[in-house]
């Protein structure tokens, strides 16, 4: 029931675009709609926790649904003011802005679909839809850079997704091969996992991890990501970074569960660790030499995807718990940052770090939020990422990956240094004289505050819902 509504809401909202003429109206409608879907995702979660069988999906899906809903709600709150501002700066026309909301809703719908379908084929299709829809949003400005970014995005992700298709087929082949039945249903595959041919599964999983890993932004397949994230509209960047990447991780996780069960041991772990470390390495290197503030955040997303991959790779109850929690924490934190940076970029009219100074003066509210967000992102207490990172590190050390843990810390410190170096220059300093201080509209502010609550709270005390859902995933993984 709830899931249907959750899935229906974005569809209805995108249809609403045909009837509602005013942008403001659309924005408000969106907010309401996503509030609704957030509420329903929470209620679905609670229902699942009290009676696990009563829903067609498991805790993993619900965890992602909740994450997506949270970020989508915030993005919806933020979009209104942002689009208005874009219009007022003549970056997009009013007419074009009307196109934004349907695309936004379709995008969210596709992501929700990915995480709720049980059929792996359908999931593949849904992921492809996310690519297509979001590509429009990446190229929304329709200038040279954004179109190029969108093209790169589509081509690279499509190649990736083709590989993922191969992986999917291989899995299905293995299933057919060992059971005789034909199905792409995850539940069936999972239950038959131990009987699948390990060699095929190994190959298949490689295709999956590379294929979906491309979309997830794991290095070295991450190459599309910095361009796409920096060119997209800021609320979309938030969605891209905050949740889209994670939906691909979701897909990898699903296959990972099967592969783990089939192969046992550490095959999946090692692959995840490998890609996790690669991602950290690449992002650490590239963050250091960034000039574009949004690209900087994009690379930081690669870092965090790496950390998440590491968390899953290291595994164990603490590691997995940490990785999942980190996924949520990163989603909210990164969204907040993209929102804040979006405002800054809009006010300064530049994404170049060197030309932005004194943001705290120009945008007192957004500046403050970004300041908090940066420290949150860097893993400072009392913000939540500190706790999830510590969990992953703790798992690394206590599960015999001490060297890995040290390396991870090393990269985190380097990235931290770079981020602090660049952002302290952006935030502090003298405000340029020609910049007029910007007052964010109320819904925009609410979006920040909404996310900030999660950032502040979900480290000290993981919300019951999240905690329950994560625990159910642990049970699913059999740990």
């Amino acid at each position: 029931m709830e899931l249907t509504i959750i899935l229906a809401v974005p569809l209805i909202l995108s249809a609403a675009g045909l009837f509602v003429k005013k942008n403001e109206g659309l924005a408000n409608l969106n907010c309401l709609g996503y509030l609704l879907s957030l509420i329903f995702s929470i209620s679905a979660g609670y229902r699942f926790l009290s009676a696990p069988g009563s829903l067609s999906v498991d805790g993993l899906s619900l965890f992602f649904v909740f994450t997506i809903s949270t970020v989508a709600f915030a993005a919806a709150l933020y979009s209104g003011g942002y689009i208005e501002h874009e219009i007022s700066r003549n970056l997009i026309t009013k007419e074009k802005a009307r196109l934004y909301y349907p695309l936004f809703n379709l995008f969210v719908f596709a992501m929700l679909l990915v995480t709720t379908v049980n059929n792996l084929g359908l999931m593949w299709v849904a992921i492809e839809i996310t690519t297509l829809v979001s590509a429009f949003l990446v190229g929304f400005h329709n200038n040279k850079n954004s179109v190029e970014a969108a093209w790169k995005y589509i081509i690279i992700c499509s190649v990736g997704i083709t590989l993922a298709l191969l992986g999917t087929i291989l899995f299905s082949y293995a299933f057919v091969f060992s059971t005789g039945a034909k199905s792409l249903n995850w539940t069936e595959l999972f239950s038959a996992a131990s009987r699948l041919n390990p060699e095929i599964v190994k190959i298949a999983f490689i295709f999956i991890i590379i294929g979906y890993g491309t979309k997830a932004g794991l290095a070295p397949m991450h190459t599309w990501l910095p361009d796409a994230h920096s060119q997209a509209l800021s609320p979309i960047s938030a969605l891209l970074s905050g949740v889209l990447l994670k939906t691909s991780i979701y897909a990898i996780l699903r296959y990972g569960l099967i592969a783990d069960k089939c192969l046992g041991g550490s095959y999946v772990s090692h692959l995840l660790i490998l890609f996790g470390m690669l991602s950290l390495l690449v992002s650490a290197g590239l963050v250091l030499v960034q000039k574009d503030i949004k690209r900087l955040l994009a690379y930081s997303s690669i870092e965090h995807i790496g950390i998440i991959a590491l968390g899953f790779g290291i595994g164990g109850p603490i590691g997995t718990y940490g990785a999942l929690l980190h996924m949520f924490n990163h989603a909210v934190t990164k969204s907040l940052l993209f929102f804040g940076v979006g405002n800054i970029v809009n006010v300064y009219g530049s994404r170049n770090i060197r030309s932005i100074r004194g943001a705290l003066r120009a945008l007192p509210f957004s500046g403050l939020m970004v300041t908090a967000g940066i420290f949150a992102l860097a893993g400072f207490p009392p913000f939540s990422i500190f706790f999830s990172e510590m969990m992953i590190l703790l798992a690394a050390f206590s599960r015999g990956y001490a060297v890995l843990g040290c390396a991870m810390l090393f990269f985190i410190v380097i990235i931290f240094g770079a981020v602090i170096y660049y952002f302290s220059q952006v935030l502090f300093g003298e405000k340029p004289k020609n910049i007029v201080p910007y007052k964010e509209p109320l819904p925009g502010r609410l979006a920040f505050l909404f996310l900030l609550v999660f950032i502040l709270v979900s480290g000290w005390a993981v919300p019951v819902l999240l905690d329950g859902l994560i625990r159910s995933v642990l049970i699913l993984k059999g740990i």
Binding site: W151, K152, I155, I156, V159, G160, L163, K202, I203, I206, F207, I210, T214, P220, M221, T223, W224, P226, S266, Y267, H270, L271, V282, A284, G285, L286, L288, V289, G358, L360, F375, F380, P381, P382, F386, M390, L393, L394, A396, F397, S398, A402, G405, C406, L409, F410, I412, V413, I414, F416, G417, I420, Y421, S424, Q425, L427, F428, G429, E430
Partner: protein, 588 residues
């Protein structure tokens, strides 16, 4: 959650002792300098900072300690960049934050290793588990903890943030940072290395002492070269951390060697200096802030003659200078005396080469205190004495009441800690006992043998009185004699650069001084303008950090090559990865 043993309480008291006067001081200091909202923010951050400091020293388990530790860095960062419009502040903040995080990263590794061995973050559980650990692992833990805390304490060569960060913060914060915050690292060392890990090898103590000596000397030599009053004080903090660590390191050695009374005494010396330094460095920073408020500059080459314009501030600064130069009868003297005494007594007790080791450490300390005296003659003499060297100094104004009260409290403490040494030591024995995990009552220290002669202040006062009586005579005022030239200007006064020149020359191997001279000429011998400046090379920054940064950035720049922008290459990555994985699949 919280832990209140004598060690914690000792640190809690120090924190409060410094933060209360600093807080009082801050009212006068912030007023008029910042807008109302910013002042409020300042007080809020101050309160948070003090809270985090309190939490650090009273954290009941390791994880909580880590959180408090990070909170402390977090708050202090914002205080460093409090003058957020100032470019220097931003740089200082960044350097501070990065160095602090490097240290914290080392600590996190250590803590997680502890967790790995103990399965818990509880101090006692960890302690029990660690005692079973093989020596090699303990050594690794020790190194991680020592350098992790060392980064915060500012031991050389991890000190580079300190001279940036401390001067940039508002002065009452500098007082707190230099006076207290870096001491929490000492607390950490005691709590984690001595109490939790337990001293396992003699070389631990030796390493601590070696780094302590290095910090002492490097810190004070840099301080001597410095022209910025607050940076000078910051470097001097590096020095004093070294002196404190001499005591702590000595204590570790004696603990390992089994001389408990000496270990206790060494710890007493270290802790005594710790509280002394907190008090007089706090006082000096507050005075420096007052000078800054009164004149608008911290460059001592532009100051001078302030003793007439700012009588109170200069008296306090003099008091602090005497104390920090370890001159009797004030507090710095007692603790350095105690430290020296410990080394002497230790040398008598231990055998062989360690005697020489202690001897050299004592000499290093003596050299340090000699240089410190020179440094503060310079700091006080050039800043406050003689004639004003610029209009800013000419128009200096004395600070207001609240700032005076703040300084006054610390000034009284400086005197008390010097004259009331007997009582202080009694308390410190208890604290040291707690710091070493032994009951203070178990060990009897002979009473007065461990303090300088109690007659000393009396003798001083008596002879001072006598001298004043003798000095009374007819006095007249006249021009300063300078070989008969009639027109002396402030340009004829000794400068700070000049004062430190002999040291620059003597320690040239380390300071690598160089000079820049620019002349514009009419002919070879007709010089129109001539400018001349001397500089020193910060060798740690130049040879260690710059290289390291260059190396990292070089790698990063090379790495940018992978993000070429060409889709073909991007796709190539994907297929290459696929290929490699498939080929090497068997490995997984």
């Amino acid at each position: 959650m919280l832990l209140f043993d004598p060690l914690s309480v000792f640190f809690l008291i120090i924190i409060l002792t410094i933060s209360i006067p600093s807080f009082i001081y801050s009212f006068g200091y912030l007023k008029g300098h910042y807008s109302g909202r910013k002042i409020l923010l300042g007080h809020l951050l101050f309160a948070l900072f003090v809270l985090s400091l309190l939490l650090v020293v009273s954290a009941g388990n390791i994880f909580f300690f880590l959180i408090a530790w990070e909170l402390m860095s977090f708050c202090s960062y914002f205080l460093v960049v409090f003058d957020s419009e100032n470019k220097k502040s931003i740089t200082a903040g960044t350097i501070y934050m990065i160095m602090s995080q490097i240290g914290t990263a080392l600590l996190i590794v250590a803590f997680l290793l502890m967790y790995k061995y103990a399965g818990s973050f509880d101090f006692n559980a960890v302690k029990a588990a660690l005692s079973l650990l093989p020596a090699k692992h303990q050594d690794i833990l020790f190194l991680l903890l020592f350098f992790g805390f060392g980064a915060k304490a500012g031991i050389v060569p991890l000190h580079i943030w300190l001279p940036f960060a401390h001067p940039q913060a508002p002065s009452h914060i500098s007082a707190l940072m230099s006076g207290v915050m870096i001491k929490t690292a000492i607390y950490g060392m005691i709590r984690f290395i001595i109490l939790t890990l337990g001293v396992n090898s003699l070389w631990w103590g030796e390493l601590v002492i070696v780094f302590a000596c290095l910090s002492c000397l490097v810190g004070i030599i840099y301080a001597l070269m410095e022209k910025d009053l607050k940076t000078l004080l910051a470097y001097s903090s590096v020095e004093n951390i070294g002196i404190i660590l001499l005591g702590v390191g000595g204590s570790m050695m004696f603990l390992k060697l089994g001389y408990l009374p000496l270990a206790l005494l060494a710890m007493c010396a270290g802790l005594y200096h710790l509280i002394n330094h907190a008090v007089f460095k706090g006082l000096l920073f507050l005075c420096a802030g007052s000078v800054y408020r009164g004149t608008g500059t911290r460059n001592i080459e532009k100051l001078g003659g302030l003793i007439k314009k700012m009588p109170w501030t200069s008296s306090y600064f003099l008091l602090g200078s005497i104390a920090i130069s370890a001159l009797p009868p004030l507090n710095g003297f007692i603790s350095e005396w105690l430290t020296l005494m410990v080394f002497f007594l230790g040398a008598l007790t231990v055998a062989g080469g360690i005697k020489l080791f202690f001897g050299l450490a004592a000499a290093a300390l003596a050299l340090t205190s000699g240089l410190a005296a020179a440094c503060f003659v310079k700091a006080f003499g050039i800043t406050f004495l003689a004639r004003p060297r610029s209009a800013k100094a000419e128009n200096a104004k004395e600070c207001g009441l609240s700032m005076n009260i703040g300084m006054g409290i610390l000034g009284v403490l400086v005197v008390f800690l010097g004259l009331g040494a007997v009582y202080v030591v009694k308390l410190l024995v208890i604290v040291s006992g707690s710091a070493l995990g032994i009951e203070g009552g178990q060990i009897q220290l002979g009473s007065n043998m461990y303090l300088p002669s109690p007659f000393l202040p009396l003798l001083l006062i008596f002879f001072l009185g006598l001298a004043f009586v003798l000095q009374r005579s007819r006095v007249s005022t006249n021009q300063t004699w300078d070989c008969g030239y009639y027109k002396l200007t402030p340009r004829n006064e000794y400068t700070a650069t000049a004062f430190s020149k002999p040291f620059r020359r003597a320690f040239g191997f380390f300071l690598r001084p160089y000079r820049t001279a620019n002349k514009s000429k009419d002919s070879h011998y007709h010089i129109k303008t001539f400018s001349y400046e001397t500089h020193t090379t910060k060798i740690f920054t130049k040879y260690l950090y710059k290289n390291l940064l260059g190396w990292i950035f070089g790698l990063a720049r090379n790495m940018r090559g992978i993000q070429t922008g060409s889709i073909h290459i991007y796709l190539g990555y994907i297929f290459l990865t696929l290929l490699l994985l498939l080929v090497f699949m068997g490995r997984y």
